[in-house]
């Protein structure tokens, strides 16, 4: 998949340009009065090196004897995309419906639909993981996870542990 190699090299070049565009907000040259480079110099010049190297990789991929380093097969790609999508949905759901809805739903999907496990295993992990998270983070470390609209349901639990 030389195309994938090229896309990644191109994306790195674009990212470098984006970094450089933001870096110039601060001086990138030599500061006469303080001695030494300005605040934007480090990110700017390093991004430039990054861009040149990525350009080198891009050019190299057009050589006659170029070998692709990026390999994948389609069935596996589908699994990876499915997991990434589920992860994104889960993270998006956390501030709205709370971690204690989003995480069990994610586990339910992962174990039952994606993993094809039985109900007993799926349900026990989907229930025990949030219980562990509650006791570890909230009850012991006093780090409150986002609860979204389920917040009122936790008031009795807060009263018990805090």
């Amino acid at each position: 998949m030389l195309v994938a190699d090229r896309i990644i090299a191109g994306a790195i070049m674009a990212l470098s340009a984006y970094f450089m565009w933001h870096a110039v907000a601060l001086p990138i040259g030599w500061e006469g009065e303080t001695g030494g480079p300005g605040g934007g110099a480090f990110p700017f010049w390093l991004s430039l090196i990054m861009m040149l190297c990525a350009g080198g990789i891009l050019l190299r991929s057009f050589a006659a004897d170029a070998v692709a380093s990026f390999q994948f097969d389609r069935s596996m790609l589908r699994s990876v995309v499915a997991v990434v999508a589920a992860l994104v949905v889960c993270i998006a759901l956390i501030p709205i419906a709370g971690a204690y809805i989003a995480i069990p739903l994610f586990l339910l999907w992962y174990l039952k639909v994606f993993g094809g496990h039985g109900w007993f295993l799926t349900l026990s992990i989907s229930v025990l993981t949030p219980v562990f998270l509650f006791f570890f983070f909230e009850a012991t470390l006093k780090i409150l996870l986002p609860k979204g609209f389920t917040e009122p349901l936790f008031f009795p639990l807060y009263a018990m542990f805090f």
Binding site: F19, P37, G39, L46, F72, V80, I91, A99, P146
Partner: protein, 505 residues
């Protein structure tokens, strides 16, 4: 002996009930993490780091070091029982470990791996104890110029000695350094690279966010792809007879093991090298110096012992520059360094003066961890055989949940969780395209130090760039760095001329 007195005081810290418990817990967790194919010490430390808020900072570092240690032991388990290395550091262990398991000698191979790990760990911890204080003394003389030169040297080892594509290595170093500049400028205090005033970027990008993204989420995505089918676990039973037989067999190959330990320790100190190349080198040397090299790869016990001594010794070796100089010798120690900075225990020579209790407590905990690891490893072998049957989907789903919650916990911002997901996908794609990830993580951790020391030097020297080469120590480091940097070019040119001459003959 001054060192012995300090070490004795250290044991007073590390043998306290809490720390002893922490070591046992860490080693056990590390053993399982290491044994799981796909998860190694670096993944374990990244995922567990946010959970260590539960104990005081010094115990948290002891816990993480114990996980690191345990993972080195655990890596051998799946190499032998599954034929899949549990971590990249245990690749060489599959060469002879797997054939031994197939011949029904899985138990013996596991004992050999555990004993070899113990020997490698012990020798390297003794070396560590001897070198730590003198090295920290030398490092006390370092100013910002030396610090910059040292960091530069650490990065150039990746270019000169790393096995990856040079252009890709340079890109990853630069990317890590640029990401480390996000937030407020160290000198002027102005915000930079905040990408359209996104408030989440004002506090910079935490090393933890990148590490959890790349080594947690990214690793799971990589594992999904490479391990859809259930692995075949070779059964292993341990009897006391086998234990005695194993230890007796190990006594005959002490030469291989001590060589592996010394070499592993020194190779491990280099940021670009580390445990994987050290174990491969130890395997190669053991094979070459053997009287029966043809038995290697067919289940020779020496082929299990050599890499296992070397990878454990290397993991201790990589702790040495991290603790004494503040320059990590491996991605895992880079995370330990980041964790220590987060808790206000900044590694470097000053730590030996300001926090001797902590430093020697940590060093002595390596002895305890090593001892605990060999006992727990052998005792829990039946449990490993059972745990390795656990389907990947169960492990992966739990790891992903821990990544989300663990990423949220330190800063309590959803911004960081989104970044983790982003870094996870990016890390997965970069890894697929053969971009090395270790320099990226190291650069993000060392970036602030590198920029600060560079600009401090120039301000102090009124902008004189030659200040870096005029000072003898930093000049030497810069010269070595330059050498590492041009090394690949020299190799390339020599290869070029040689192949150019060959057809003419």
């Amino acid at each position: 002996m001054d060192v012995l007195a300090l070490l004795a005081e250290g044991f007073a810290t590390s043998l306290s009930p809490l720390n002893l418990m922490v070591v046992i817990l860490g080693v056990t967790a590390g053993l399982f993490i290491g044994a799981m194919p796909g998860l190694g010490s670096v993944n374990g430390v990244a995922i567990v780091l946010p959970l260590t808020f539960i104990v005081p900072p010094s115990s948290a570092i002891i816990l993480l070091a114990a996980i690191y240690y345990g993972a080195m032991y655990g890596g051998a388990v799946s190499s032998i029982l599954l034929g899949i290395p549990g971590a990249s550091t245990a690749v060489a262990t599959t060469f002879d470990g797997r054939p031994m398991a197939q011949q029904g000698k899985a138990g013996l191979a596991l004992i050999a791996a555990a004993v070899a790990s113990f020997v490698g760990g012990t020798i390297s911890v003794i070396l560590f104890t001897l070198f730590a204080a003198p090295l920290a003394d030398v490092a006390l003389a370092f100013g910002p110029a030396e610090e910059f030169a040292l960091v530069l040297m650490a990065f150039t080892t990746f270019v000169g000695l790393g096995g990856d594509d040079k252009l890709k290595t340079i890109i990853m170093i630069c990317l890590g350094l640029v990401l480390s500049t996000v937030g407020l400028d160290l000198i002027s205090g102005q915000p930079r690279l905040i990408f359209g005033d996104m408030p989440g970027f004002y506090s910079g990008i935490s090393f933890l966010v990148l590490a959890i993204g790349v080594y947690g989420v990214g690793e799971v995505l990589y594992t999904i792809e490479t391990s859809k089918s259930s692995p075949q676990v070779t059964p292993a039973k341990i009897t006391f007879g086998e234990l005695a037989l194993g230890i007796k067999a190990m006594g005959r190959i002490w030469k291989t093991m001590s060589f592996g330990s010394f070499m592993g320790f020194f190779v491990g100190m280099l940021p670009a090298a580390g445990a994987t190349p050290a174990s491969l080198m130890a395997y190669g040397v053991a094979k070459q110096t053997s009287k029966h090299p043809e038995t290697f790869g067919k289940g020779n016990i020496e082929g299990v012992a050599a890499p296992e001594t070397a990878n454990n010794a290397a993991s201790t070796g990589s702790l040495l520059p991290m603790l004494t100089l503040g320059i990590p010798g491996s991605p895992t120690t880079a995370l330990l360094l980041g964790g220590m900075v987060m808790w206000g225990l900044v590694p470097g020579p000053m730590l030996f003066i300001e926090q001797p209790d902590f430093v020697w407590g940590l060093i002595s905990s390596l002895y305890t961890a090593n001892f605990a690891a060999v006992l727990i490893n052998i005792a829990l072998i039946p449990l490993f055989v059972w745990a390795l049957r656990m389907p990947f989907t169960v492990l992966c789903s739990i790891v992903l949940v821990l990544c989300i919650v663990g990423g949220f916990a330190p800063s309590q911002k959803m911004h960081d969780v989104w970044l983790i997901a982003g870094f996870g996908v990016a890390g997965y794609l970069l890894r697929k395209a053969d971009y090395p990830l270790a320099p990226l993580v190291l650069a993000l951790v060392l970036g602030p130090l590198m920029e600060k020391s560079f600009r401090q030097t120039l301000i102090a020297e009124q902008g004189n760039v030659f200040a870096f080469v005029e000072r003898p120590l930093s000049g030497t480091f810069i010269a070595i760095a330059a050498l590492f940097f041009v090394l690949p070019f020299i190799k390339y040119l020599r290869k070029g001329t040689r192949s150019g001459i060959a057809p003419a003959e």
